[in-house]
Amino acid sequence: MIEVENLSKQFGKKTAVDHLSFSVRKGEVLGFLGPNGAGKSTTMRMVTGFLPPTSGDAKICGISIVDQPSEAKRKIGYLPESAPLYNDMTVIAFLRFCAEARGLSGNTRNDAVARSIETCFLQSVAYQSIDTLSKGYRHRTCLAQSLLHDPEVLILDEPTDGLDPNQKHEVRQLIKRLGETKAILFSTHILEEVEAACSRAVIVDRGKIVADGTPTELIAQSGTGSLTDLFRKVTTLDTAA
């Protein structure tokens, strides 16, 4: 459902993403790992159509994000890093706005908003202004936004970043549940998350894939039975040249 083919991104002379290829099938949750600055967010921004790739392409349900961006974007739900929101709106007004921007209107829009609010447990804050929300609620509001149009593909950039352990657990369960019917690509720094929620994981370093497999395979690859050891072995420190 997500097919990334030779995707590259160059910022000036710096190569952020270097001929990356991978695919995510329906019913699969792909964990996207890598140190800071490895090109995870850049890759996600290209796949969602926010950044145009320098070369290569990503196909969402067979539709190229480069050639038919509008059609491809309709299939994607996206949670950007740090969950950006319009602080001056209430949760429900924000979700209604996003639903309308996604082309939903009338009852379809209201039903979609109600469903998202329920899925992300936002009932208690629905009429609250977004700038008064805690980080956990902010994250879930942004996640709700990505689910409005019931997309076939979900792309989540660090969905559990900054959440407390309870919230992390809930979001992981949610990802797992959604992953049964969708294709999900999510990035994380928390390696346990990979075992808890992913059916497959890739490790990226300096714009290239350095490891790829199911959590069990990756742990076997590490030789020590720990994902952290494998991660440290295949990736470079950001201080290294």
Binding site: R74, P84, D88, M89
Partner: protein
Amino acid sequence: MKNVWTIFKRELFSYFNHPIAYAVIVVFLLLSMIFAFTLGGFMEVQDASLTYSFFAYLPFVLMVLVPAVGMRLLAEEHRSGTIELLGTMPISMGSVIFGKFLAAATIWLVALLLTFPIWITVNWFGDPDNLTIISGYLGGFLVACCFLAITLLVSAFTRDQVICLIVAATICIGIVLGTFDPFVRAYSKALPAGVSDAIRSLGVWDHYMSLARGAFRLQDAVWFGSIILACLLGTSTILTAKRA
């Protein structure tokens, strides 16, 4: 078009949730009235029209205040990261910019309409040509739209609201003062007559004052329309190119 409406609604709602719209409207009303009653000599001139007492001073007020309304339109999206949400929705950059532009233009429509007491006054004391006044308001609104489009174009280059405000205001002040008749006369003495005429018809006054005097000419519509359109298209192109 539906997307433009969605963006427009959100942006307008956001304006009325922020003090900036109210502040700008109040300052605008104060300044435009002060100009009308002092420099314009509204009470003294015995002329039942608003052309030279009120409309003639509007560009001086608008050149500074319009950039203050437009500066946050794009900067805020970049600062909060919501540009990433908009950029991944099936909405074109053009409709985002146009929707935002219309929302800010509506603020100026409201601000201009709120000067209605001066219109009531002039009708109370005299018998003005109300069509000329409507034409003057249309001119004022077009000047505001034009400055707004310039502000948007500037804000495509910078993410900083203050820099955007300063640069956009400087450009607008340059357009207003640089083509203001007494100034043009002063600095074009050494130039051939054709040059100063060209400067005048390139600038805002020629087109605006003809509307304020009640004359609707095709060249004025083309002048305002092409500046607004060029700036908005430029904004969209630059924003798209910057991501590549």
